[in-house]
């Protein structure tokens, strides 16, 4: 036996682990592509996209759009509010600004369910028990991390660049939009994608805020689809799950690309 070859025992153990890991995914994929799915782990006799058709039409399609609206809306609003607050926090000598930021982060560490009741009543009073309410609530909950991340990115933009632009006649708005923001592209992308995934995955807030089926995002729709019309349609559920998971995977790749390219241009010395 060669030294580097794993022993038979290791091989068996690894295979066992692999099966445990892979089987749920193969179950998901096999059922999704099987129009006659029964919820068993089996090789489908017919392969088709019927389940996916069901998962993007009607209620399910509506939920996909809702999810997109909530996720993209939250991400965009988080970025806009985050930039407007993080830039002054990065540039002005506000006493106790770091303590302030970390206190916000501490508050965010508390479980969201803990603030659910006051959030609910606030939304009820202000007539925001709808998707806009979900977007605003999620943005508020996102804000501590958004602020912290963006502030750190803005901190890396050398102040001399802003001074150079100022001497050349740029207004504050021009300095921010033409120097600081382009240089913080990577940071902004990270914040946008994280907020997007966070909002996409969010279940509790939309469940409570959006109380009609038409307003459900996919996360709530998936939950509601169990046992609809008396029986569980496993084919539909698995296809729906795959579509639901796809944006997260997509965001992961976009994020990786941005993290790789975004930082390259920041240094000025050399």
């Amino acid at each position: 036996m060669e030294e580097n070859r794993p022993s038979r025992l290791t091989a068996i153990a690894l295979t066992f682990m692999a099966v445990i890991w892979v089987s749920p995914f193969s179950w998901l994929i096999l059922n999704a592509f099987n129009p006659l799915s029964t919820g068993q782990l089996e090789i489908p006799s017919v392969v088709g996209f019927d389940n996916f058709g069901l998962a993007v039409s009607g209620n399910a399609g509506r939920q996909f759009i809702n999810s997109m609206l909530i996720a993209a809306g939250t991400a965009t609003l988080s970025v806009i509010v985050g930039i407007s607050a993080a830039y002054p926090l990065s540039r002005l000598k506000i006493p106790g600004r770091n303590a302030f930021l970390w206190t916000l982060v501490l508050l965010r560490m508390l479980p969201a369910a803990g603030v659910l009741v006051p959030l609910y009543f606030t939304a009820q009073r202000t007539g925001l028990l709808n998707q806009l309410g979900v977007i605003i609530a999620l943005t508020i909950l996102n804000l501590p991390f958004t602020l912290l991340l963006l502030k750190n990115f803005f901190d890396t933009v050398p102040i001399e660049l802003e001074e150079a632009a100022y001497v050349e006649g740029a207004s504050l708005l021009q300095i921010v939009t033409r120097i600081v923001l382009p240089m913080s592209r990577a940071g902004i992308a990270v914040v946008w994608f994280f907020s997007f995934t966070g909002a996409w995955n969010e279940f509790l807030l939309p469940l409570i805020f959006a109380r009609v089926q038409d307003a459900f995002p996919m996360s709530v729709g998936l939950y509601a689809a169990f046992g609809q019309q008396g029986a569980i349609n496993y084919g539909f559920l698995t296809a729906f799950s795959i579509i639901y998971a796809a944006p997260a995977v997509g965001v992961y790749f976009l994020l990786r690309r941005n993290m790789n390219t975004g930082f390259a241009g920041v240094g000025v010395k050399g």
Binding site: P158, A164, Y166, A170, V268
Partner: protein, 351 residues
């Protein structure tokens, strides 16, 4: 007219005053260098002229107009930063055109001015490159080019050469001197390097802890420093300072040797200053000072000998050529009376 004048200019951060009332007149077209050790306030002074630091007291005027409350862009200045401050996400061309575009200059004129500046600085081949694809020296030129295209009345340089290596620094120094000749603009240049100050300046302003010590041409400062600070700061080899006791006929050197001098202020002389290049080797009998050779640095064209006196002080000699001296041998030194500087107790030069 683009002369710059400072009247009692002060800067304080809270209770801490860092610039204590600076008065200075810079003539149009002059190249003035602010030099001093770090923390002397030279950069702060420059930033106040640039409009990047609020002025706590006094007046700054550019071209006859008080600019204390004029925002930076309207002061007619351009600044070159130590880190170059090139916008990393813009090409060289965009970097140079940025200010003109903000000022809504017609496109054709922007193009013409950028290309003209690029031609002067010989950076035409790099116009489409990003700053990160340039070497340090090229970035430096782009930073200067960005200043030139704006056609400012006054150029402000904040230690522009300190990020370059020694060879490139010497080369760029010459180019800045040529540039001043070509553009005929007022230039204010901040550095802590006295070589840059000596070689570039029409006039040098020596600053120390927020005050002007002396203003003058490089040779005035070299020949007639007003105090021990300026004397020790200007010139590449620091001036030797020797404690002396005045007598009616001259000053008594540490080895109880009398150096005969005729000088009006002789009675208050406490320190004798003499530059390393003015000291000469002497024979045993004719020596004014004697000591042991502690270190010798041979440069080929000249050598620096560090001689330790019996009193513990070290005297530096700059000797032409490559003298044959051996470590720990006794060195006899002649002090030429015409080359000495005398300072009183407070370090002020005696005239």
């Amino acid at each position: 007219m683009s002369d710059v004048s400072l009247r009692g200019v002060r800067k304080s951060y809270g209770a801490l005053e860092v610039v204590h009332g600076v008065d200075l007149d810079i003539r149009s077209g002059e190249f003035v260098v602010f030099v001093g050790p770090s923390g002397c306030g030279k950069s702060t002074l420059l930033r106040m002229i640039a409009g990047l630091e609020p002025i706590s007291g006094g007046e700054v005027s550019i071209g006859g107009r008080v600019v204390n409350d004029v925002p930076s862009p309207q002061r007619g200045i351009a600044m070159v930063f130590q880190s170059y401050a090139l916008y990393p996400h813009m090409s060289v061309y965009e970097n140079m055109a940025f200010g003109l575009k903000l000022a809504k200059t017609p496109k054709a004129e922007v193009d013409q001015r950028v290309r003209e500046a690029a031609r002067i600085l010989q950076i035409e081949p790099y116009l489409d490159r990003m700053p990160k694809a340039l070497s340090g020296g090229q970035r430096q030129r782009v930073a200067i080019g960005r200043a030139i295209v704006r056609d400012p009345k006054v150029f402000l340089f904040d230690e522009p050469l300190s990020n370059l290596d020694a060879a490139l620094r010497a080369q760029t120094r010459v180019e800045i001197a040529k540039l001043h000749d070509t553009l005929d603009a007022t230039m204010i240049y901040v550095t802590h390097d006295q070589v840059e100050a000596m070689t570039l300046a029409d006039r040098i302003v020596v600053l120390n802890s927020g005050r002007i010590e002396q203003v003058g041409t490089p040779l005035e400062l070299y020949r007639e420093p007003v105090n021990t600070f300026v004397a020790g700061f200007i010139a590449s080899q620091r001036m030797n300072f020797i404690d002396v006791t005045p007598t009616p006929d001259g000053v008594m050197l540490p080895g109880k040797i009398l150096l005969p001098i005729q000088h009006a202020g002789l009675a208050s002389a406490r320190t004798l200053g003499v530059r390393p290049e003015h000291l000469e080797l002497a024979s045993d009998g004719a020596a004014d000072l004697s000591g042991t050779l502690a270190v010798i640095e041979q440069f080929g064209e000249y050598a620096l000998a560090y001689v330790e006196m019996p009193s513990g002080e070290t005297i530096t000699l700059k000797l032409d050529g490559a003298p044959e001296l051996h470590l720990h041998e006794t060195i006899h030194i002649k002090v030429p009376p015409e080359a000495i500087h005398l300072f009183d107790e407070a370090g002020r030069a005696l005239r």
